[in-house]
């Protein structure tokens, strides 16, 4: 097992190195001078030259690349042009709402999707099953920002059940801030539950056909106990996998949802960075999110070892 973990960590380092390389290349793909692009059309040639020197763009590309990788590995993702602060600091300042939004919506998605997925598999072919599958597919087909706008319009503005937007202002306490995340989390939770419903249902269907389930039933065990004790426990692995995969969906969803609800998180930051051509922030966000994704997937793989004793690497 130690060998497996070592191999996985080695593979992870290679992927992170490639992530850094891709992030480096993307910004270099920009046609023309990146410094002039970042400063906009009003900037003078001197300003552009100064920024080029500051960013090290006047050095050979290989030197730029090696410096970039060396700094990134040490946690230095450069400086934001707009904020004139280290990118890591800018990102950390925006991390709270995004982290909580992702966690709450994942929780909501699991609370909705796990029972629905299990029940749909258990009552396979029934109208409840058909309904659950159709609803899940519908939820995956509606743009999350559209659902967000609709919920904001009717549940927040019209009925006043939730704060309509923002993050409670600069002096808002923790619970006020979390209250502002309620509606966005519901929106994102519904959208993400679609994938988890389909996954849970599929893995439960596989398990319900297994011999040990038939054995449990044939020895007279109650259905409730069969499902909860035997089936669900074994369905945990695919569900953990999908939670790992959902992370990417959550982040993508958070980008647009934060924009809809005007939440000052990392998603909103990257969109603003694009509009301001603040490339170091764009690059930094890409690196942080992709690295987190890789780490979360490693964590879910290692979790298998704990959850299912049959899994041997």
């Amino acid at each position: 097992m130690a060998v497996y973990i070592f191999k996985r960590i080695l593979g992870l380092m290679v992927v992170i190195f490639l992530v850094l390389t891709i992030a480096f290349v993307i910004v270099r793909l920009a046609p023309g001078d990146p410094a002039a692009l970042m400063l906009g059309p009003e900037a003078s040639a001197e300003d552009a030259a100064l920024l080029r020197t500051q960013l090290g763009l006047d050095r050979p590309i290989l030197v730029q690349y090696l410096t970039f990788v060396f700094n990134a590995v040490q946690g230095d993702l450069g400086n934001s042009i707009f904020f004139n602060q280290p990118v890591t600091q800018v990102l950390l300042g925006r991390a709270e709402p995004t982290i909580f939004l992702s966690l709450f919506s994942l929780l909501i998605a699991l609370v909705i999707a796990t029972p629905v997925g299990i029940y749909a598999a258990y009552r396979r072919g029934s109208w409840l099953d058909q309904g659950a599958i159709s609803t899940a597919m519908l939820a995956a087909s509606i743009p999350s920002f559209w659902t967000g706008l609709m919920f904001q319009r009717y549940l927040a503005t019209e009925l006043g059940w939730f704060p309509a937007s923002g993050y409670g202002g600069p002096d808002a306490g923790f619970w006020v801030r979390m209250g502002h995340l309620a509606l966005p989390s519901i929106v994102l939770g519904i959208v993400n539950s679609a994938l988890i419903i389909r996954f849970t249902r599929a893995s439960m269907l596989d398990i319900l056909g297994e011999d040990y389930i038939r054995t449990a039933r044939s020895k007279g065990m109650g259905e409730r106990r069969v499902i909860l004790r035997h089936a669900l426990k074994n369905a945990a692995i695919p569900i953990i996998t999908v939670v790992g995969l959902t992370f990417a969906l959550l982040v993508s969803g958070a980008v647009v949802t934060e924009r809809v609800f005007n939440i000052p998180g990392m998603g909103n930051l990257i969109v603003s960075a694009v509009l301001r051509r603040d490339y170091p922030v764009i690059q930094g966000t890409l690196i942080v999110v992709a690295t987190l994704y890789v780490l979360i997937n490693l964590a879910t793989d290692l979790l298998y070892l704990l959850v299912d004793k049959r899994v041997k690497y």
Partner: protein
């Protein structure tokens, strides 16, 4: 010839044996035909402004209402659909092409497998929208650039499937036989391998068509997609957003158009998966 047409007929029967796939296909064809025929069927000029018609509710004159500039929403919806569908189709085709090349190379040449697979892993570590935003911000917002960006985002999905299928097919006796008969690597890759992995590619491309339409709408909504002057379903929602309290219909109709198209494509994708390869038919 006769056998082939019988096969085709049974495939079509199988595909449409599920009623929801049939309904989805009909719905999608209707949407696509209406959008393609926009110059003929659109009730008005989608760019013609009229101050007096500002935010007119849906009715006899404006079937689906008029926007903040007094432009006919129904006509804009049809013209916008052309752009959204073109982007979706373009991304599905282009990402399949890139994915097939990468996947075949990785699956066929052992030396290329490890580096290419790691590259695919790294590309897939970036969430779709985030990578697309970054790419569009660098390439610049235009319809072609959005298509390029989204194709780069989705190509690894195809590449991964093609690689996995190629690895299996490469070892099959008929490939060995072809090699023994002196077929070139190129012939084996295109004739023997590619032809046999088209089914999963077509299925995945259908899903990418749907995801790309959703992603394009997301990018346009964020203001980092196609030029805002070009109507797409995403830009229509973004424009209508400011008037959501007075005129919710401005975002309701484009939202329904996106959802209906994406839903029907996903159902068609599911149907194709089951019909093209019954072994792949999961209970999803």
């Amino acid at each position: 010839m006769a056998a082939s047409s019988t096969q085709d007929a049974s495939f079509i029967d199988l595909l449409f044996s599920r009623r929801n796939v049939l309904i989805a296909a009909i719905l999608f064809v209707i949407i696509a035909v209406l959008c393609l025929a926009a110059p003929i069927v659109a009730p008005a000029d989608p760019f013609k402004m009229s101050v007096r018609a500002r935010l007119t509710e849906p009715g006899a004159q404006f079937w689906l209402g008029a926007d903040a500039f007094g432009r006919d929403v129904a006509s804009r919806l049809l013209y916008a659909g052309r752009v959204s569908l073109t982007i979706g189709l373009g991304v599905a085709a282009f990402s399949s092409l890139i994915g097939i090349v990468i996947g075949l190379l990785a699956g066929f040449f052992r030396r290329l497998d490890a580096p290419m697979s790691r590259l695919i892993d790294a590309m897939m570590a970036f969430p779709d929208i985030l990578l697309a935003i970054a790419l569009v911000s660098i390439l610049g917002g235009s319809m072609v650039n959005v298509m390029i960006a989204l194709s780069i985002v989705y190509a690894p999905r195809i590449a991964r499937i093609v690689r996995a299928s190629t690895l299996v097919i490469r070892e099959l006796p008929y490939v060995e036989a072809a090699r023994a008969l002196g077929s070139s690597t190129w012939t084996i890759m295109t004739t023997h391998v590619l032809r046999n992995i088209l089914s999963p590619i077509i299925v995945q491309a259908t899903f990418i068509f749907a995801y790309a339409m959703l992603a394009e709408a997301g990018l346009s909504f964020l203001g980092v997609g196609v030029d805002p002057a070009t109507p797409t379903w995403g830009t229509m929602i973004n424009e209508g957003r400011q008037y959501i309290d007075q005129a919710a219909f401005l975002i309701v109709f484009p939202g329904l158009a996106i959802s209906a198209s994406v839903l029907s494509l996903q159902l068609i994708g599911d149907g194709l998966r089951d019909a093209l390869d019954p072994r792949l038919a999961k209970d999803l």
